[in-house]
Symmetry: C2
Subunit: 217 residues, 2 copies
């Protein structure tokens, strides 16, 4: 039905106003995120983008190349969305809550990209694509560590604790919640499955105040 006389007429429509190449990248990202690299087929990606399989190979020479392009833009998106998270002022505990909540919000509102990035990070082999993602991640990680250790040297945070461990613990909590959010809904005694922001705040409560009984205020 959308099929028109000539090839170019179809493109003239620029389905949904989006040029084919962009549409292709977006569809590929979605399908790679859903099915993984091996599970995604070029035919399905082409169909989703309403484009012929040959055209996919015209724009990106191979499946691998398409995947790399997808990962690259995903890593950039991921970096961009996280860019703003740490740029805040205010009381320290509020800033920690802010960071955790915003971080949670960002990965949730970019779940496709986050899925791709995490999937890539979990690979054991050190391929080109892993390097792309790793650099983005380590940059963001270092900024969080810097933030914490600076707060420590200003005597605002417990100096006895390793800042990198604290940073990783914060990130772990959010990432774990994100990765298993579907399963968490079926956990008994867990009230936060549908409330990511309160969960992020509760995590800060735990990590900031500590489990030790003396801190119950």
């Amino acid at each position: 039905m959308a099929k028109v006389a000539t090839a170019h007429e179809t493109r003239a429509f620029e389905t949904d106003g989006i040029p084919a190449r962009e549409r292709l990248l977006a569809c590929a990202a979605s399908i790679f995120a859903k099915r993984g690299y091996a599970g995604a087929s070029m035919a399905e990606i082409a169909a989703e983008a309403d484009i012929s399989k040959s055209t996919v190979f015209h724009h990106f020479g191979s499946k691998r190349a398409l995947y790399l392009a997808v990962i690259e833009t995903a890593a950039q998106d991921f970096a961009a969305t996280l860019e703003t998270v740490l740029e805040k002022t205010g009381p320290l505990d509020e800033r920690l809550v802010d960071f955790q909540c915003q971080h949670m919000g960002h990965i949730l509102s970019n779940e496709l990209v986050t899925d791709l990035v995490l999937r890539e990070l979990q690979k054991s082999q050190s391929t080109e694509s892993v390097h792309l993602v790793r650099d983005v991640l380590s940059a963001n990680f270092m900024r969080l560590v810097d933030f914490i250790s600076e707060a420590q040297s200003q005597k605002l945070l417990n100096e006895a604790l390793d800042p990198s461990v604290a940073a990783l613990t914060l990130i772990s909590a959010n990432v774990f919640f994100f990765q298993h959010r579907k399963v968490l809904k079926h956990l008994p005694n867990f009230d936060y499955a549908d409330r990511p922001q309160p969960y992020a705040k509760a995590v800060i409560d735990v990590i900031f105040h500590g489990l030790d009984r003396d801190r119950s205020e």
Copy 2:
């Protein structure tokens, strides 16, 4: 070279003394864990188990059935290895450290099984295989929550904090370390990439004592 005259002679050897079906399950688990469901091929699994592809289909009717069998045994193994982690006595902070270190130890010494279980949990669709794994997980999760909230009611832990959030934060830290242990090695300023047990202990330091400055003892 291991090829012998008749089919049965080959089996009489029971390569490495392990019956074919078990060997098959083990090889399938390894390959599914490495390559994912779509990425694993029946031919490769058969070759790894030193068995013909037809024989794989003789024992398990389909790729999906083989995968389900693998997931089922993996979930059982996972449950079994975690069974002992919480059965300890002693001072509370020691028990927390104990739990975290043993939990870390168990997932690391069963990385194949853990990879499989985590991979399965991350799927968004709720398939039969997800249910298998989910039940195991929620049982173990509930026991950790019970432990924490019991300690709280005995005034041994900060009662103001949600026990399920605390439990998830502990688990998240270990799982995240496990999933990204390869990448963590390349993080600057992170000394724990090759030292999982000290990391687990450091996480307890953070979560037990809290980031708040007043707790620096």
